[in-house]
């Protein structure tokens, strides 16, 4: 027994070894077939440009159309698009790709990652890919939001291909029914809140069945409500300031009036998550609400008969800012270590319309996206879109304003946005007062700054 191997004949041992080797070979074959990426190259003789994005479903189809258009527009490059859903770990795959020296050439992102990633040295500055004159020109022409989102420490790291802006959507039918004039939309938040009260509807047990006015999250509303997170001239971050407390308190009181739990329950019942068709505004659950410009396109698709209008979020009478909104959006980044930077840049220019605004205008209208420069908005194709979707104009009007601000561009931006939203969530559930929420927000961020200093980060 002890000498089992020793007693087997040589030929048997060789046989066993061969079987083992054979199985290993099969395994290796299976692994290599399973893991090799069969890329569908339509133009094998061109230079490939590998492009990752996070769109899926019908959005992916639109992206493929733009990629096709690029590939047909020239003969040097072929953009090979790969859709990696955000939930499928797009972020970590990208990071590992860069770390492993095999990143895509270009990626479309929408999370607030530019400061973090630029600071970490993950991203290629894009202004260097243009002539200084061209960069100067673009910088001047870009909408303030595009500039603020794409730039970090005076360099350009992301080119926006679709900005998001928030504004009010309202239903004239509800307004008329409540005796309010749809042509005289409130000019202040106070007035708007009063309209909301007149539009609220409850059942006989006091449960909310229609919400007159649903404000956006604090980050969407803060500027209009008199708050301020960042001084873009002096690069100063503001969190627990009297202005911010006032702006959050306004939202808090608005919610308290309806009952914190009442609103949570009402909104949970609408089950809006993930389904465009389930949006409460379309079903009549809200009379006035604050939401993003993409809803215009969704209404056109799913409720073309719906009578609705849009208006900028009105400012608070005291200290509120006009034409104000938070902004985020889709943007293109080119990672360090990208193998075909020039090809990637050509594609970025093509889609964003930096070179050819008239041509790119069509791409922006595909998903109801807001452009990077006024030149795109003025292009005939975009103008036609605006004629067909007049309610979209409100968003362009807001987009041009200096009061459109993304999340402050601090190197811990992802964490900052998480913390701001956490403060918002706790306050809107009535778990803490605005004062407590902001004190905690300030402490959290200060602690993060101290932590970064302790660990020896540049800032």
């Amino acid at each position: 027994m002890a000498d089992d191997i020793g007693t087997t004949s040589l030929s048997e041992r060789i046989g066993q070894a061969l079987i083992g080797l054979g199985l290993l070979a099969v395994l290796a074959l299976v692994i290599s077939v399973a893991t090799s990426t069969p890329v569908d190259r339509r133009y094998p003789d061109r230079e490939p440009v590998y492009f990752w994005h996070m769109w899926t479903g019908e959005w992916k189809d639109e992206v493929d159309k733009i990629v096709d258009a690029f590939n047909k527009s020239q003969e040097t490059y072929e953009v090979v698009a790969l859709s990696i859903p955000a939930a499928g770990g797009a972020m970590s795959k990208f990071l590992l790709g860069v770390a492993g020296g095999d990143p895509p050439d270009v990626m479309a992102q929408w999370d607030s990652v530019i400061p973090n990633w630029a600071e970490a040295g993950l991203l290629q500055p894009l202004d260097g890919l243009m002539s200084p004159q061209k960069w100067e020109e673009l910088r001047r022409e870009m909408y303030p939001a595009a500039r603020r989102i794409g730039m970090y420490k005076d360099r350009l790291y992301g080119v926006t291909i679709g900005l998001n802006i928030w504004a009010c959507y309202y239903r004239p039918d509800h307004l008329r029914e409540a005796g309010l004039d749809p042509d005289a939309f409130p000019q202040t938040l106070e007035e708007l809140s009063e309209w909301g009260r007149k539009l609220n509807r409850f059942d006989d047990r006091g449960n909310l069945i229609r919400m007159g006015f649903l404000p956006g999250n604090w980050i969407h509303m803060a500027l209009a409500a008199g708050g301020r997170f960042y001084d873009w001239e002096k690069d100063v971050l503001y969190l627990n300031t009297p202005d911010n407390v006032r702006s959050l308190r306004w939202l808090y009181e608005e919610r308290a009036r309806l009952g914190f739990d009442n609103v949570v329950r009402f909104r949970a019942g609408l089950n809006e998550g993930g389904y465009a068709q389930a949006w409460g505004f379309m079903s009549g659950a809200y009379s006035i609400c604050v939401d993003g410009q993409w809803r215009v396109e969704q209404i056109r698709k799913y409720r073309p008969d719906l009578e609705y209008r849009t208006a900028p979020i009105p400012p608070r009478a005291e200290g509120g800012r006009k034409l104000a909104s938070w902004s985020n959006g889709n943007f293109m980044i080119i990672p360090r270590g990208a193998k075909n930077v020039q090809g990637a840049w050509e594609f970025v220019k093509f889609w964003s319309g930096i070179d050819h605004p008239e041509r790119a205008a069509e791409f922006y209208t595909m998903g109801g996206w807001l452009p990077i420069t006024p030149a795109v908005a003025e292009a005939p194709f975009y103008q036609k879109y605006l004629r067909d979707n007049p309610q979209f104009r409100t968003f362009l009007e807001v987009l041009a304003s200096e009061n459109v601000e993304p999340t402050p561009p601090v190197p811990y931006q992802v964490m900052l946005l998480d913390s701001i939203n956490r403060a918002d969530d706790r306050t809107m559930r009535g778990a803490v007062t605005p004062e407590e929420a902001l004190a905690r927000l300030q402490a959290e961020v200060e602690q993060e700054i101290a932590r970064r200093r302790e660990l020896g980060y540049a800032d």
Binding site: R265, R429, L455
Partner: protein, 303 residues
């Protein structure tokens, strides 16, 4: 000696995989936990700074740890009670028992992400199955008081900070079939001679369960307890899917592993995340060690 080499050669694929994908990252993370590291630039040694900061005042560290502890303390014992009870029921010799076994085991093979998505619907406060059923329950008015006289209104489940964590615990019971199968195998392993002897001595069903079945099942319970503790401390996917990557209402479901993931992949703080991973590892080791130390007192091998 040569024979050993042949042996090693045959397990070398596994050995290589273990070294490359487990042992080396494991050891590397010790080093990384003493550095600041964003995956791209080389790690920079910072001494014990990560650990000091972790214990010195990161409120989210303590909060996420407490969420995880709460979950483990409720979900693990409940899982054992539910698993053993189900196994006892499914051990009965009745017609069609294998069909029942299959039904109860089925949820364990549904992918976690699918289960989580379904539970978002099941626990919807307005249109969900659970609250829909609760609404049918009528509490009659108690005479001469203001009590009763209404239909039950279910809680806000995943949207309520008081109910979000219990919701996840309930969901964990849904997949109890996995451990149930192991208990069932354990039950089948108990020699029938013990029961026969007890029956001759006139022991009742309860006495037989109490003095034979449960003691004989303790090695299996012990195994599931240890596995359950480890899994509970690493709890991630369900919370991530259900709360959309966030911490849930008022961070009531901000689990340790979720915070660790955010630190590593969203805030690009691999050093800090490695330190967190090591703290978690030591906590799991300590608790598992305690369970092991206690095992001589309540785990019976024999029969």
């Amino acid at each position: 000696m040569r024979r050993h080499l042949v042996g090693y050669a045959f397990i070398s694929p596994w050995l290589a995989g273990f070294c490359i994908f487990t042992a080396i990252p494991f050891v590397a993370s010790i080093y990384l936990s003493f550095t600041r590291y964003n995956i791209i630039t080389p790690p920079v040694w910072v001494g014990t700074a990560n650990y000091e900061l972790l214990f010195g005042g990161d409120p989210l560290f303590w909060e996420s740890l407490s969420v995880t502890l709460k979950y483990a303390m409720v979900a693990v014992p409940l899982g054992i009670v539910a698993g053993v009870s189900l196994a006892l029921l499914l051990n009965l010799e009745i017609g069609g028992i294998s069909v029942y076994r299959t039904i109860f085991y089925l949820p364990a093979i549904v992918p976690v992400v699918a289960t989580s998505t379904i539970f978002i619907w099941i626990l919807n406060p307005q249109i969900g199955l659970v609250n829909g059923l609760l609404r049918h329950i009528y509490i009659p008015r108690i005479p001469f008081t203001d009590w009763g006289g209404y239909h039950l209104v279910g809680p806000n489940w995943l949207n309520d900070p008081d109910y979000a964590l219990p919701s996840l615990v309930i969901m964990s019971l849904w997949a109890v079939g996995g451990s149930m199968i192991i208990y069932l195998a354990g039950l089948k392993d108990i020699p029938t001679s013990l029961f026969e002897a007890a029956m001759i001595d006139g022991a009742s069903t309860i006495q037989r369960t109490r003095h034979i079945t449960l003691p004989m099942l303790t090695p299996v319970i012990f195994f599931n307890l240890v596995m359950g503790i480890i899994a509970a401390f690493q709890y991630f996917t369900q919370a991530y899917v259900i709360m959309n990557g966030g911490g849930g209402p008022e961070d009531s479901t901000y689990f340790y592993a979720l915070y660790l993931f955010n630190r590593a992949w969203r805030y690009l703080d691999m050093g800090y995340a490695s330190a967190m991973a090591w703290v978690l590892f030591l906590i799991i080791m300590a608790i598992t060690g305690l369970v092991f130390r206690s095992h001589r007192r309540w785990v019976h091998y024999g029969g």
